[in-house]
């Protein structure tokens, strides 16, 4: 895999497949809870089976991408030191820019409960950043 791959449509498609399958995994899980509540055992089984399958699909795309770049942070997937650095980058962005900005917008738009949710996530991510940094220094 080289630069040609990075600029290819296939690379973009793998990223999209990774993202869509990851989303699908959580949608299956979420919908499973509803079908279990409704007592629909057969539907629940399908959703449970598919959610488990989706994980394989997510990992399958990552198997291709791992030799190149993490589709979220765009830094290479490598050993744990590199991977923690990659995750750390995402968590720092979330806590320092993304969630504060999202909370601000939500508050301006009058969605104060959603703003509080983003605030909560921002603080959780702050904790993650601390723990990841401690892990790095070990």
């Amino acid at each position: 895999m080289d630069n040609k791959f990075e600029s290819s449509q296939t690379f973009e498609n793998l990223k999209k497949s990774f993202e869509d399958e990851a989303k699908l995994y959580f949608r299956y899980k979420f919908f499973l809870s509803v079908s279990e509540y409704e007592g629909l055992d057969k539907t629940s089984k399908i959703l449970r089976d598919f959610s488990e399958g989706s994980l394989d699909n997510v990992n399958g795309s990552l198997d291709f991408l791992r030799n190149f770049k993490d589709p979220s942070s765009m830094v290479p997937i490598g050993n744990s030191t590199q991977n923690i650095a990659s995750i750390l980058q995402t968590e720092i962005e979330q806590t320092s820019e993304i969630y504060p900005q999202m909370a601000k917008v939500a508050r301006e738009e009058g969605f104060t409960d959603v703003a509080s949710w983003f605030d909560t996530l921002e603080k959780l991510k702050r904790n993650h950043v601390t723990r990841l940094k401690e892990n790095q220094s070990v």
């Binding site: 509540y37 055992d41 738009e109 409960d113 949710w117 605030d119 959780l124 904790n127």
Partner: protein
């Protein structure tokens, strides 16, 4: 290289990693050992070879005795030790693993007996059979001597097994004594499920024999003591077919919650499973058929939903399945698909038959379902109005009035914290001013917070938006006004104290009501406010989801730093905070008007699926019967309005 490989004996393996075998080394783990022994004895009785089970609880030991066949004392040719020693020292060595029996035993307890032995400082086993009484003692899982005969048989018909064990406190570090109430309730339940077995429970204080002649009706009667039944006589369904025996007893109640107690082969399946879901679908299908046949034109909208059919139902389901399959090791959810259609069809058929024979009851249930459908559509409209509130800085008073008006009917029983005396005292303890102070309890609810200051101040005035709450609090407070905390109907500098509790998270733009509180306080006056807060930022998102599902009016999940900023940002000074942890019964807390049944289900799932990261910072327990108890961190703040 070979030197580095450690081969543990089975007993050592259990002692090294006990949680892997029994789930946990908390007090639950200790009781798990006891119930393994009890269930082994029950299985012996189900096979028809025992009729009595006696449990004795001592200060640090417990014994379980049955009058079954007695574990075999023969020497096992393969291992060259007695079968008694084999089942006490080898995992998965119980005779039930052979699966030769066609009886409805729970089976697969084989891992238990050796685990009980491995995790006990001392274990004594006594076996009676036609030749005599035999005894053997173990220490930390290892036999101190060979099985020996103590006496010869006086009467050849007497047989049985008695196991006495002392849980190892080196492993169960939290263990101090057995929980009598837990054991009592569990054995009582087993007695109702197995009415042909005589159960008794001995403690240092008393000996109890259980009267279980009512069978599973006894479980329902106990569950119904706190509520009112819709029908005078409970409804019973049952049938047997091939590998399945099914019985259930139920009634509708005045509650808007559902209580399902389900069992498979004598074991509680508190997470339900295929047998429970089939009952639910069957009941819904049966009622839908009756509605179509008898009330055509009177029923509006979609066919009856499962949660509508089950609303207010208290049911005990007892199922016997020849080869039960469970999800996970705790046997809490049944997964046998082959029984679904059978149960669903039978329950539907028997539902139709019951109501056709009881036309008066059919009318009653139809009216109840119609009322429920109507109130749910009102609740849906209220929920929609909460979302419409977005984008405006004014709160929709009607939404709050509607919800708290409904909740005022059962306010004090809707959560433990509301009337917890220690918690109320923790608020009152912050008071530092003189006895001639005038206090205002804002969003006072039933007035319990304001009332906790009554002996310390001259007068307590209440303020609440909801007329029903105003009436409720009038019995406790000196005077109560109806009004909005965003626009407190009092002049500035009017009060020496303002108190409130668990309110500000329900209010969008909480800085506005806090400023109002600041305005009505005199310089030097105090604001005392209690709030449930997450233990740290780690459990806050998890708590947010739980609280938002419970109460759609939640607008803020405060953390300690937010709350401090909120108070200090309004201009208050001299912030002091005390903390108090209070256990809350989540099942009671979520049994509330504003929490939909789906949300109740999802809240329970959030607890059950909590990550280890959450469990490390936020204590909660899920009891063997599925009940959830959560430890809430209450923070009580006191701040002062500066003198200048």
């Amino acid at each position: 290289m070979n030197d580095e490989i450690i081969v543990l004996s089975e007993i050592e393996a259990v002692r090294t990693n006990p949680s892997m075998y029994i789930g946990s080394v908390s007090n639950d783990g200790v009781h798990h050992l006891l119930f393994e022994l009890v269930h082994n004895a029950v299985d012996e009785a189900i096979l028809g070879t025992a009729s009595k089970i006696e449990v004795t609880i001592g200060p640090d030991f417990c014994s379980v005795e049955d009058n079954g066949r007695g574990i075999s004392i023969e020497i096992n040719p393969k291992f060259n030790i007695s079968n008694v020693q084999l089942v006490l020292t080898k995992l998965h060595s119980g005779s039930k693993f052979r699966k030769t029996s066609d009886q409805f035993t729970t089976g697969l307890h084989g891992v238990g007996l050796s685990c009980v032995n491995a995790l006990s400082t001392e274990l004594k086993i006594e076996v009676k059979n036609k030749t005599g009484l035999y005894c053997q003692t173990y220490k930390e899982g290892n036999a101190l001597e060979a099985l020996s005969q103590i006496t010869e048989a006086k009467e050849s018909k007497i047989s049985g097994t008695k196991i006495t064990f002392y849980p190892d406190k080196k492993i169960f570090k939290e263990f101090s004594s057995f929980d009598f109430d837990l054991i009592y309730n569990s054995i009582e339940e087993l007695a109702f499920l197995n009415p042909t077995i005589d159960f008794s429970l001995n403690s240092q204080i008393e000996k109890i024999s259980f009267d279980s002649k009512n069978g599973i009706s006894g479980i329902l009667i106990k569950a119904l003591t706190q509520t009112q039944k819709l029908f005078g006589e409970d409804i019973k369904f049952n049938f047997k077919q091939n590998d399945l025996s099914f019985e259930c007893i139920f009634n509708w109640t005045t509650e808007n919650s559902t209580l399902i107690k389900s069992y498979v082969n004598g074991v509680s399946t508190f997470l339900g499973g295929t047998h429970v879901n089939a009952y639910r679908s069957g009941l819904r299908n049966g009622l839908n058929t009756l509605i179509t046949e008898h009330f055509k034109g009177q029923w509006e909208g979609d066919p009856l939903q499962i949660d509508e059919a089950l609303d207010g139902v208290f049911v005990v389901i007892n199922c016997k399945v020849l080869h039960p399959n469970f999800e996970g090791q705790t046997k809490s959810r049944l997964t046998n698909f082959e029984i679904v259609d059978l149960i669903e069809n039978e329950v539907a058929k028997q539902t139709i038959s019951f109501f056709k024979q009881n036309s008066k009851n059919l009318m009653i249930i139809f009216e109840r379902l119609q009322t429920l459908r109507k109130s749910r559509s009102i609740a849906k409209r209220v929920a929609e109005r909460i979302f419409l509130q977005h984008g405006t800085k004014k709160i929709n008073e009607e939404v709050y009035k509607k919800q708290f008006g409904e909740r005022s009917k059962t306010w004090h029983s809707s959560a433990v914290w509301i009337t917890d005396q220690e918690l109320l005292k923790a608020h009152a303890d912050h008071f530092e001013l003189s006895e001639d102070a005038i206090a205002l309890d804002v969003c006072c609810g039933s007035g319990v917070v304001g009332a906790s200051f009554k002996h310390k101040v001259k007068k307590v005035i209440g303020l609440d938006l909801t007329p029903e709450m105003v009436n409720l609090s009038k019995t406790r407070l000196d005077e109560v006004h109806q009004g909005n905390v965003y626009n407190i109907p009092f002049p500035e500098n009017a009060f020496d104290l303002v108190c409130t509790r668990e309110v500000l998270h329900l209010l969008p733009y909480p800085e506005n009501p806090v400023s109002e509180i600041y305005r009505v306080l005199k310089p030097g006056a105090q604001f005392i406010v209690g709030q449930i807060l997450p233990f740290s930022e780690v459990d806050s998102a998890w708590m947010y989801r739980i609280f938002k599902k419970k109460q759609p009016l939640i607008f803020n999940m405060f953390q300690e730093e937010d709350f401090r900023k909120l108070l200090l940002g309004a201009g208050f000074v001299d912030l002091k905070m005390t903390e108090m942890n209070v256990w809350e019964n989540i099942d009671v807390w979520i049994n509330s008007y504003e929490t939909t049944h789906l949300h109740r289900h999802e809240i329970r799932e959030i607890y059950r699926n909590a990550s280890s990261e959450i469990k490390e910072v936020h204590p909660f327990k899920i009891l063997p019967n599925g009940e959830i108890h959560d430890l809430w961190r209450w923070c009580i703040f006191s701040v002062t309005k500066p003198l200048s």
